[in-house]
């Protein structure tokens, strides 16, 4: 019994089986045990939230100390921003409910998160122009429904020609429902089988180094 590997694998198996029993049986004791596991899981996930920051301190701290790359000042700025949020968030004792934390969130995080995500619109426009080609039969299939759905989503066209609205609704009927149900069945069973291998310890990537 190698306590470095076998005990963690046993933990994964036991916790996983309890989760499954909680779903498929009605034993009170199983449900209560899994309630404890769920409540513990929330706390552990909360602890895991700090891992990203520790990693950033290790990487960017090294960059600053070694001044290796020319952008070490950006690393300094990054850690400063990180500390700013932590100090304001924890300092007020109200965390995300404090107005000063909301102030720095709405000034810094919200515009960046909203714009980074949406600036993909430019990539979409450029991608549609440069790369979305009906180069062969298969690409043409994707191309036809893409164009018909874009037309259906452009309010000016369905407003003037209602047929475009109904074409889009129809594409989202049988075409999307049929193929995506087939894909979802395949992905669903794929995830289950690989999940089973993880629970029984055949898939141990998550344990990290040998």
């Amino acid at each position: 019994m190698d306590y470095r590997r076998d005990i963690p694998l046993a933990i994964t198996f036991i916790v996983g089986v309890i989760a499954v029993l909680d779903y498929y049986t009605t034993f009170e004791s199983v449900t209560n045990t899994f309630t404890v596991i769920k409540n513990w899981g929330v706390v552990l996930q909360a602890f895991a939230l700090g891992l990203g920051a520790v990693n950033l301190f290790r990487i960017h701290g090294k960059r600053i100390s070694e001044r290796t790359r020319d952008d070490w000042m950006f690393s300094g700025w990054l850690l400063l921003m990180l500390v700013l949020f932590v100090v304001v968030g924890l300092g007020t004792g109200q965390y995300d409910a404090s107005t000063s934390y909301q102030w720095i969130y709405n000034s810094l995080f919200l515009p960046l998160g909203a714009t980074m995500y949406s600036s993909l619109a430019f990539y979409m426009a450029y991608g549609s122009y440069k790369v979305l080609r009906a180069r062969n039969f298969e690409a043409a299939l994707l191309f036809i429904t893409a164009v018909l759905v874009i037309i259906g989503n452009t309010p000016i066209f369905p407003a003037t020609f209602p047929v475009f609205f109904h074409i889009r609704e129809w594409i989202f009927g049988p075409i999307v429902s049929g193929a995506y149900r087939g894909i979802r069945i395949g992905v669903g069973i794929g995830a289950v089988v690989l999940g089973i291998r993880t629970l029984v310890g055949l898939e141990t990537g998550y344990l990290g180094r040998r």
Binding site: G16, L49, G50, S107, I144, A179, I183
Partner: protein, 206 residues
């Protein structure tokens, strides 16, 4: 009349900085990028500590001493950074993986597999002609798309049977096109929100 609120000015600057990348990579974008990385990690810590307080410490304060074990497991997550004791981090990760995988696949077999087959095993003929045609197209779509994902039976991909996976790939590509089309709307629907912010709250001209 332009806004005088510093919060709006900072947000406007970062909105433009984050957009600038689409035109050309530049140092102002790099500043925005590193701000983004930093504040995101900072926010994770703030929310992590709050959750530890609300869902961990609150139990300890009520006398549930077992939560000391939970806190210990939580700290062990950080053992991964030690050369010698990295294996200790496997205990909490094993708990999270067992919980995460178990809670997901137990229902996955139900709603992603059984329910979807039951939905396929429904009458093809509907009350009206269009309904019947739609049911048949959906049915052909499910069956052929599924046959496309058979990997260990070469026979399914040969001869007349081979038309199944071939048509399946075509149906999948048609459906992917619909998804691509919807994504164009997603991106523009989001970015217009930023332009409205710049015009309405920053420059206040609409």
């Amino acid at each position: 009349m332009v806004s005088l609120d510093p919060q709006v000015w900072i947000a406007a600057f970062l909105t433009i900085a984050a957009t600038s990348y689409a035109f050309r990579d530049n140092r102002v974008f790099k500043l925005a990028e590193n701000t983004f990385i930093g504040v995101a990690a900072g926010h994770q810590i703030v929310m992590g500590v709050k959750n530890i307080r609300d869902y961990g410490w609150s139990h300890l304060a009520q006398g549930e001493m077992i939560y000391i074990v939970v806190f210990l497991l939580g700290v062990l997550l950080y053992a991964r950074y030690s050369k010698e004791y990295y294996w200790l981090y496997r205990y909490p990760i094993a708990f999270l993986v067992g919980n995460g995988v178990g809670i997901s696949i137990r229902a996955g077999i139900h709603s992603d597999f059984i329910v979807q087959i039951a939905q396929t095993a429904t009458p093809l003929v509907a009350s009206d002609a269009m309904g019947t045609i739609n049911n048949i197209i959906t049915f052909v779509g499910v069956i052929t798309a599924l046959s496309h994902f058979i990997f260990t039976y070469e026979s399914v991909h040969q001869g007349t049977l081979g038309w199944g996976p071939k048509i399946g790939r075509w149906m999948i590509l048609l459906a992917l096109g619909a998804s691509f089309g919807n994504t164009v709307m997603t991106r523009f629907g989001m970015y217009q929100g930023r332009v409205v912010f710049l015009l309405r709250e920053w420059l206040q001209i609409i």
